[in-house]
């Protein structure tokens, strides 16, 4: 038995006419407001407002041992916290599968696109920089994947780089962290047999399938399908093409923001 709520009916009816909340069409993003350097204690930070979704990303760099299988490289560690204040369904405690997936998808895009050249983070034998990317979800209203990826790349792109002197990390007169590439992502969802970009919280409640495509200028760098629904191969091809078109504007936003 299926109970259709008023909200679901409203969303479905509007989607069949190709209309969405706020008057946007099926393949446009909500308003994006991205600010960097909001948390000056962190080496890098960015806060994004994607409609009513609010995500803060903080970057910290520390010196540690390289990974055992990559002794001549630094490392990236990405974590995501779905703070209990961000949504009524979020609970305190160890990261949920949802949070782990978010962190790993953001991480995968950044890693595969080579946003940071890990070889350049090597210091000396058994010493390398670890880059910590922490995604803090402050308010949930759908599409955390794109919000988090945008904020993380913007934060990295304007992050400072501490120095390593006399076996100590020095966080004074820091230079810039070197960035080798920029990647962004577009997340689509199937709601009532219609595919839409950048779902808000209500649309996400009724989504049956989700697809995140992360790319740079040249190629697709990471993908993740989520939820219990499915996509056809034709839909996949179309969404990959759409991503290249949509990502231009996203990349411009990141490139347009200069840190201090």
């Amino acid at each position: 038995m299926n109970i259709t709520t008023t909200t679901e009916q409203y969303i479905r009816e509007r989607l069949t006419k190709g209309v969405r909340e706020g008057g946007r069409d099926l393949f446009s993003f909500r308003n994006i407001n991205l600010e960097v350097g909001r948390m000056p204690n962190a080496e890098g930070s960015a806060e994004i407002n994607l409609g009513n979704t609010k995500v803060l990303v903080g970057i910290k760099l520390d010196v540690g041992e390289p990974m055992r299988d990559k002794p001549d490289e630094g490392s990236i560690m990405t974590g995501a916290e779905l703070l209990p204040l961000a949504h009524h369904t979020y609970d305190a405690g160890p990261p949920s599968a949802e949070a782990v997936e978010l962190a790993r998808v953001v991480d995968r895009g950044i890693r595969a696109a080579g946003v940071i050249d890990l070889k350049k983070l090597f210091i000396e034998e058994e010493k390398a920089w670890n880059v910590f990317i922490d995604v803090y979800v402050l308010n949930y209203d759908g599409n955390l994947f794109d919000a988090a990826t945008l904020a993380a790349v913007a934060a990295l792109n304007t992050s400072k780089m501490p120095k390593y002197e006399d076996e100590k990390v020095v966080r004074e007169n820091m230079g810039k962290l070197e960035i080798s590439n920029i990647c962004t992502s577009c997340t689509y969802a199937k709601v009532a047999d219609t595919i839409i970009l950048d779902t808000d919280g209500n649309e996400e409640d009724f989504s049956v399938a989700r697809l995140t495509v992360a790319n740079d200028e040249k190629a697709v760098r990471a993908m993740q399908k989520g939820l219990g629904g499915s996509f056809t191969t034709k839909e996949l091809d179309t969404l990959v093409d759409t991503t290249f078109e949509k990502s231009k504007a996203l990349r411009k936003i990141i490139q347009g923001i200069k840190g201090d």
């Binding site: 299988d69 599968a97 997936e101 790993r104 697709v220 993908m223 993740q224 219990g228 191969t233 996949l236």
Partner: protein, 204 residues
């Protein structure tokens, strides 16, 4: 699948526990993918769930939510356990192909029998079902699960570097491979009954 040795077991439908996670409208699927600590060619791993295993369990669960007729068992759960005993690349895909047969063998009603396989890229060449050594030299990996009857994609992950054309070709390769994999799955399902039949025929 090659040197992968994977066990899949299915329990249910049975009462969903703890009670608060049960859904009064349909059954829920639980999935746990784990790797044995001695399963890899490299160093000793830690038993149980790490972040990778949590993510794989989640996407695998979603594959089976797509095909199991959940509406038939409100308030119940179907648990799927995938244990990688020896790994040689593409274990999540092999685990799905395997669990799919386990579900069908246990008589759980499904609208399709999914299979999964990974497409990789070494240099500029797309290859199917990479083993660990190929994976170490690859610059892209794209595991895909398919519902063969409707040719729907129920799992898709990717990292590395692929052009839209390569993604298209990759999915075509996965669809083509499905003919073989689905056949092997059906044979595996039939095998225990054929043995019984042989025994029976020998006895009369």
């Amino acid at each position: 699948m090659g040197n992968n040795k994977i066990l899949a077991a299915v329990y249910g439908p049975r009462e969903a526990l703890p009670k608060h996670i049960s859904d009064p409208d349909r059954a829920i699927i639980k999935c746990r993918y784990t790797m044995a600590p001695f399963s890899s060619l490299e160093e000793h791993g830690r038993p149980g769930m790490n972040r990778r295993a949590i993510e794989i369990s989640k996407v695998t669960k979603e594959v089976f939510e797509n095909v199991v007729l959940l509406d038939l068992f409100p308030g119940n759960e179907v648990s799927i356990f995938i244990e990688v005993l020896q790994s040689d690349g593409g274990t999540r895909a092999a685990g799905i192909t395997c669990a799919s047969v386990a579900l069908a063998a246990s008589g759980i009603p499904m609208r399709d029998m999914p299979y999964a396989v990974s497409v990789g890229k070494v240099g500029d060449t797309l290859i199917l079902d990479m083993n660990k050594i190929e994976d170490n030299y690859s610059n892209a990996d794209m595991p895909i699960a398919i519902n063969p009857r409707m040719k729907e994609i129920s799992l898709l992950q990717m990292d590395g570097e692929l052009t839209p054309k390569q993604i298209h070709e990759g999915t075509e390769m996965v669809l083509k491979a499905g003919e073989t994999i689905s056949k092997l799955q059906r044979e595996a399902l039939r095998r225990p009954y054929e043995k019984v039949q042989e025994k029976y025929q020998a006895s009369i």
